[in-house]
Amino acid sequence: MTTAPSLAPAARRFLEKCFPGDAAVFTPEAMCVYGTDASRRFALPSAVVRPDDVEQVRELLAFAQTERIPILPRGRATNTVGDCVPSVGGIVVSTARLNRILEIDPNDFVAVVEPGVVTGELQTALAAQGLLFAPDPASVRFSTIGGNAATCAGGMRAVKYGVTRDHILGIEAILPGGVAITTGGRSHKNVVGLDLTRLFVGSEGTLGFFTRLTLKLLPLPQATATLAVAYPSVDAALAAAGDVFRAGLLPAAMELMAQEAMAAVAAIEAVPWPDTAGAVLLLRLDGSPEAVAADSRLLAAVTKQAGPVWSRTATTAEDEENLWELRRLLNPASFKAAPNKINDDVTVPRGKLREAAAGVAAIGREQGVRILLFGHVGDGNLHVNIMHDAADPDERRCAVAARERILMLCLSLGGTLSGEHGVGLSKLPFLDRQLGPTERELMRRIKRVFDPFGIMNPDKAY
C-alpha cells in the first residue's frame, strides 16, 4: 500500500470551498475505500469529493487541469480491472450524490439520468411503465449507469440486444478545463458528425466526467421463457448453441456453465442437473406470449440434436428465476471455491468457441490449475476464472502462466482480451499483443484532444 501525493494547502482550501460540509474528504481512514475497487488493487487518493450538482464538477475540472491533479470518476467501484484505483494519486470524484432519474419519456422511448443511478433501480422504474433499458451486466443491481457506460458493460441480454454502447443516445460531460460538452441527442438515429457518444462509452473515465446520460429504451417484452439443458461435455453444449442460431433463433440470453463451475454452484446450493452433466446451457426467449410459445417449441427440438442428458423448461416468473439464480450464484460460489482467482472475460468469434473452450481446458490441465469456465456464449464471451492459492508461489506461477496462455490463445483465434470488463490496469501489460503501435498511438492522441494534460484517470486503458 502506498501513500498518495499529498494535496497542497491551496488545493485543499479550494476543495473545501467548492465541496462544503461532508462533500470533501481528506482523512485517510475515510478515504481508504475510495482507493480500491473490485479488482482489489489499492492506492490511497489525495482527496475525495462528492458533487451534487454539475457546476461543482465544472469548477473542479477547471481547477484540476490548472493544477495538473488527476481526476478519478467513481460510481460503485464494481469494475474488476482497477479503473477506480488512483494509482498515481489524485482526487476521487464519487457520483453517489449525482443519482437522479431526471426523465422517463414513454413517447420518445428515452430516459435521462445522472451517472450515479443504479442500473437495476432504473430498470425497476422503467418496468412499471412497460419500458426496458436492455443492458444487464451481472452487477446490474449494484452498479451505476455511469460506470456501465464508462466500461461499456455487457451482460446476458447482449446476445440479442447488444451492449451498453448500443443503448446510449447522448452524453453530457465535463472535460478537463471545465468545458461542458453534449454529444448525440435523443433521436434513436443520428449520423451527424463523428460519433463522440460511442467514443465516450467504454473510455474508462479517461476522456471526461459524465454528468448526464440519455438512454435508449425499448418496449418491455411481454413474455419470457427459460430452457436449461445439460450435456455430457462442453463441446456438445457449444455444438447445441450453434444449432440454436442455425435454426433461426436469437435468444435473449444464452449462458454456458462448464463442469467445474457447476460443481462450485453445487457446493453452495442444491442443483437440478445430474452428476453426469459436463456442461449446462441456459437459454431465455422473450417477446409476445404467442411468439415465445412457438420459439420455445423450436428451441426444445433443436437443443435435442447434440444429445442432452437433462433439460427443464420454465415459463412462470418463479420457475425461471430459480434457474437463473443458479447462474447468478456462480459469482459468490467462485469466491468460495479457492482463496484467489484470476478473472478474465476473453471473447472470440462465435464460430471459434469450441476451439477456444477446448484450448482453455487443455491449458488448465497442462498448467495443473483448476479453471471455472462459464460465460455469455451467444457473444463468444468466455469468463475464465483461474482458481488458485496465491500464498503458494508455485500455484501462483502456474495460474499466471495459464492466464497468459489463455489470453494469447484467444487472440490467435481472432478474439479480444476483454469482451466487457475493460482494460483498466489489469490488462494493460498485454495490450500490445492486441493493438498495433499505430492504433495505440492514435488512441493516445485522441485522449490528448480531450485531455491535453492527461488528468482523467491517467495511465489506464490504452
Binding site: E29, V33, T36, A38, L44, A77, A96, F142, N331
Partner: protein, 396 residues
C-alpha cells in the same frame, strides 16, 4: 473514544474471517449509504479499512478508524443478506467494540447521557449499569419524551369481529419488550385483549428483561449474556411456556438464543424455538371490521429485524385489504438500530427522512409496523399529518 491502547487490536489476529472481496453488493442495501452517499459508512468500506489496519502498511489512526468502525452502523443486517462471503457489518462493529478495552464504560456513559429516544431500552438495562454511574439522566430523557407514549398514536380503526379460536384453551406468557414495558403499556393491554379473544390464557409475567439483541451489537456482550441468562431462568421458572411476541426485533433477539451456548439443553432449544410465536400468527383467520377512523392509505413498514418471515405483513394484508400498501422493492430502514441513534443522531435522522421520502405518504395516511424501535423512530420523524403506529394501536 480516547483510550490509548489500539482499539482495533483484537481484530488483527483473526484469520477465521474471510476477506471482503470488494464486490460492492452491500452498497445497494446499506441504509446509511443510501441516506448519505458516504461510501466510507458502507460495510465494504469498513471491512476494507479493517483489512488495511491489519496489514499495517498504511499510516492510519486507529482511534479515527475505530470511530468509523464502531459508531456508524444501524445493525440492520441487510449487508449480510447480500454478501457473497457471508460477512456481516453489524458483527464487525460489535467485534471492534468488544475488542476495545475502554468501550464498555464508554457505552454505558452513552446510554445514560444520551438516552433520548432509546430511553425505554436504557430503563431496561439500567439494572445492569455498573455502580457509580448517574442513571437519573435516563429519567430526565423519559420526561422530555413522554409525548411518544400515546400522543401521536393512531386512533383505533380495525376491530376484530370473529376470533380464530383454534388455539383456545392454550396458555402462554407475553414477552412485551422494553418499549411496551416502559413507554407504551397500552400495547401490552391490547395484546392481552386479543389473546383473550383468541381464548388463550395469559400467564403472569415471569419477570423478563430486555431480549439483549441491541446490547450484542452494541458490543456489550457480557451484559447481553447476563440478560439472556436472566430471561432463560425466568422462562424455566414459569414452566417453559409458549412466549408470544409482538415486536420483530424482540422476536429476532429471542430466536438467536438457540444459536448461542447459553446453557439451554437440546430439548429446551427445541421448546424455546417452537414456543416463540408471533401474535400476528395466532390471529390466524380472525376477521376484522374497518371503522370510520381508517386512513385512506396505510403503509406497512417492514422492520429490518424481520428474521423468520413476515407474519405481521401477512396478517395485515388479510385484515386491512387493499388499503394496505407494501412494495417488496421499497423496504427502507428506519435508522433506529445499532448505536448510531446515540453516536450520530443526525445520521439516524437522515435515514428516517429517506424512508419517508420513499413512502411519500399524504397527510392523513398512516404508517404501521411491528417493531417498537421502528415505531419510536418513525413517529419522531413523521411529516405533518402522517401518523405512525404499531399495528396493535390501530386495533380496537
Amino acid at each position: 473514544m480516547s483510550d490509548k491502547s489500539p482499539p482495533t487490536q483484537g481484530l488483527l489476529d483473526r484469520t477465521d474471517q474471510p476477506d471482503c472481496v470488494l464486490c460492492g453488493r452491500c452498497l445497494s442495501v446499506c441504509p446509511l449509504f443510501a441516506a448519505t452517499g458516504r461510501e466510507e459508512f458502507s460495510p465494504r468500506a469498513k471491512f476494507f479499512l479493517t483489512q488495511a489496519l491489519a496489514s499495517g502498511q498504511l499510516d492510519l489512526s486507529s482511534t479515527k478508524a475505530a470511530d468509523l468502525l464502531t459508531s456508524v452502523c444501524l445493525s440492520c443486517g441487510k449487508c449480510e443478506s447480500v454478501c457473497p462471503m457471508g460477512l456481516c457489518g453489524p458483527d464487525l462493529a460489535a467485534r471492534v467494540r468488544a475488542a476495545h478495552p475502554g468501550f464498555a464504560g464508554y457505552l454505558w456513559k452513552l446510554w445514560i447521557e444520551r438516552a433520548g429516544l432509546v430511553w425505554p431500552l436504557a430503563m431496561a438495562v439500567a439494572k445492569f449499569v455498573p455502580k457509580g454511574l448517574p442513571i437519573e439522566a435516563i429519567t430526565r430523557a423519559k420526561a422530555s419524551l413522554d409525548a411518544l407514549g400515546s400522543g401521536q398514536a393512531p386512533a383505533p380503526w380495525l376491530f376484530p369481529e370473529t376470533f380464530d379460536r383454534r388455539h383456545a384453551g392454550q396458555k402462554a406468557v407475553l414477552f412485551a419488550g422494553c418499549v411496551a414495558e416502559y413507554a407504551t403499556p397500552q400495547w401490552k393491554d391490547m395484546a392481552k385483549r386479543l389473546l383473550g379473544g383468541l381464548g388463550i390464557e395469559v400467564l403472569p409475567d415471569p419477570g423478563f428483561t430486555c431480549c439483549g439483541c441491541t446490547l450484542g451489537h452494541a458490543g456489550a456482550s457480557d451484559a447481553q449474556a447476563t440478560m439472556q441468562q436472566h430471561n432463560i431462568e425466568a422462562w424455566r421458572r414459569a414452566g417453559r411456556p409458549t412466549m408470544v411476541v409482538f415486536c420483530a426485533s424482540c422476536r429476532c433477539g429471542l430466536r438467536s438464543y438457540t444459536r448461542k451456548d447459553l446453557g439451554l439443553t437440546a430439548s429446551e432449544r427445541e421448546t424455546w424455538s417452537g414456543g416463540l410465536v408471533s401474535l400476528s400468527d395466532l390471529l390466524g383467520d380472525t376477521t376484522f371490521r374497518t371503522g370510520e377512523a381508517a386512513p385512506p392509505a396505510v403503509r406497512y413498514h417492514q422492520p429490518c429485524h424481520g428474521a423468520g418471515g413476515n407474519q405481521d405483513l401477512a396478517m395485515l394484508r388479510r385484515a386491512v385489504g387493499e388499503r394496505l400498501l407494501f412494495r417488496e422493492n421499497e423496504t427502507p430502514c428506519c435508522g433506529f438500530g445499532g448505536l448510531t441513534k446515540l453516536t450520530a443522531p443526525e445520521l439516524s435522522d437522515l435515514v428516517a427522512a429517506r424512508a419517508f421520502a420513499i413512502y411519500a405518504p399524504k397527510p392523513g395516511d398512516q404508517v404501521v409496523t411491528g417493531c417498537a424501535g421502528c415505531v419510536t423512530q418513525l413517529r419522531a420523524s413523521a411529516p405533518n399529518g402522517v401518523i405512525v403506529g404499531h399495528w396493535l394501536e390501530i386495533m380496537g
